[in-house]
């Protein structure tokens, strides 16, 4: 019996309509990602990595072709359903962390829980997640701009994990960190994958890609190695 892929891109093309003319960022791309995979997406600038991340993270819809998450076609969903799918199934980790500047570290982690449960966290899950990524209580009261890059990325990871998503989408997660801190972050991601998460990683760095079980190379909007 074949397992249903967690994420499927089926002949996906993404075209941007620019003033200078149409630009095809993804060109008839098909890809299956299974549950508990650790996938690295690599490629030069402009190869379509970010576009692919946006597709996999349901931040954008394909121009043609289909994106299936757990067998469900994203295009058939309403906006609200997509929002809820993002909230419950996918955790995002960005190169620039993208924490909410007006909220403290703790509130940033608590935020997805509030979105889901429509009330402040009373279970202590947000604090537990911060503990798990090594942010102590005192630091958790700080605003993002009062934290170092490594600390911010840990908070971002805690935020991504707090709703227990199946998929972790990481866009250059070590790009803004020094080598040592980058390694620590990668170890956390490896641990999470071992615990059952599906980790999808976009990176320039071949050493980072070595952590992945599978590397997908993109060039000019097409998959050249899978």
């Amino acid at each position: 019996m074949t397992q249903t892929p967690l994420i499927s891109l089926v002949d996906v093309t993404k075209t941007y309509h620019l003033e200078s003319g149409d630009f095809t960022a993804l060109n008839h791309v098909s890809l299956d990602i299974m549950e508990n995979d650790f996938v690295a997406i690599m490629g030069p600038s402009g190869s379509g990595k970010s576009t692919m991340m946006n597709q996999l993270g349901i931040l954008d819809v394909p121009t043609t072709g289909n994106l299936l998450i757990e067998g469900r076609d994203v295009e058939q969903m309403t906006n609200l359903e997509r929002t809820h799918l993002r909230r419950d199934t996918i955790g995002y980790i960005f190169q620039k962390f993208y924490l909410i500047p007006l909220l403290s570290a703790y509130e940033n982690v608590e935020y997805p829980l509030i979105l889901k449960n429509k009330e402040r966290d009373k279970t202590g899950r947000a604090s537990a997640m911060l503990d798990a990524v090594g942010i102590d209580r005192e630091k958790s009261e700080h605003r993002p701009n009062q934290l170092s890059g490594g600390q911010q990325q840990r908070v971002a990871i805690a935020r991504a994990l707090v709703n227990d998503p199946k998929i972790l989408l990481c866009d250059e997660p070590t790009g803004n960190l020094d080598r040592k801190t980058g390694l620590q972050i990668m170890e956390i991601l490896c641990k999470l994958q071992k615990e059952g998460k599906t980790v999808i990683l976009v990176t320039h760095d071949a050493r980072v890609a070595e952590y992945a079980q599978r590397t997908i190379r993109l060039d000019d909007g097409r998959i050249v190695e899978s």
Binding site: G57, L59, N79, L80, T83, H84, R86, R87, D88, Y92, Y98, L99, I100, P101, L102, L103, E107, E110, Y111, P112, I114, L115, K116, R120, R159, N163
Partner: protein
Amino acid sequence: MIGDIFFQLSVRSVRLNFLRSILASIGIVIGVVAISTMGMLGTNMQLQVKDQLSSSANTIVITADAIRMGPPGSSPSSSSSSAETGIKKTQLNKIRTTVGTNGTVIPIYSSNTEFTSGNVPARGTIYGMDPSDVTEFLTIGNGTNIGSINEALVGYTLAESLDIKVGDKIKISSASSGPPDGSSSASRASVRIVGIIDTRGTVADSVSTDNGIVVSREWFVAQYGGKDIYDQVNVIVKDTDLIPEIEDAIDASLNTDEKTPSVRISDASSQLDTISSTLETLTTFVLAIGGISLLVAAVSIFNVMMMSVNERVQEIGILLSIGTETAEVRKMFMYEALILGILGAGIG
């Protein structure tokens, strides 16, 4: 709502952009202050006028019904003698008979005139009436009532502006005299001021003494002629409820020809209606100006919100990407606008 994370975000955003938020709120403050002061101004004006008019609410004013360009005596050359427009003695007698014991009938001569106090020329209305009638509706604040033919009373405002005191003499030109350049001073008769009439403000009985002079009937007729042709007859009734009845009776007695009525009968209520509607228009206009400033304030809040949204496009993107519903993001900005509005409106 206070515990709502979106409300918290809005509060923090307002605090983060404190100066901008305060400026937007000040816009609202100005708008609210403008609209409320202008509203109060209009209402006060109405109240004041109503208050003053109600002091003469017991008066019926009867004038000759002829087409005139303005109130009695407003034409520079007008005098009771030069035209046949006036209440004649026979009509006055009819009025007296009709009113009977229900009120006091006060026949009044009036004319616009020029006069000089010291060497200062001025213009105003001169009223001629029986000294005993003066105290029926005028209050002499300083001095005494007219006792002899050469004595006169002066209105408070006029006395203030020309610095006229009891005992002063003023020269009043006759109807046929020229401009007050002193060339025709020979035709000027002088009167001695014996009393100053308290300020009356806006009144409904057409006797605006604030800027006028009151002389005896004899002096007036000697100076201007027109004996027994009065410019107006005021009836001060004892019971205001009887006004419509008395008016109807006078109307029936004097206006025997319906097509060409000979007198016009009015009272405070009809004048109040006219003035009120004028003031209401004025108040609406003034409020509209206040409304515009409130609109400007609203636009400034809109502008601040636009800036806030533009500045936070990335933040909005993050919020949406981690699963915030668009309605929730909208709620956050609504809260922010609400805070600015309430802050401004509260202070204002």
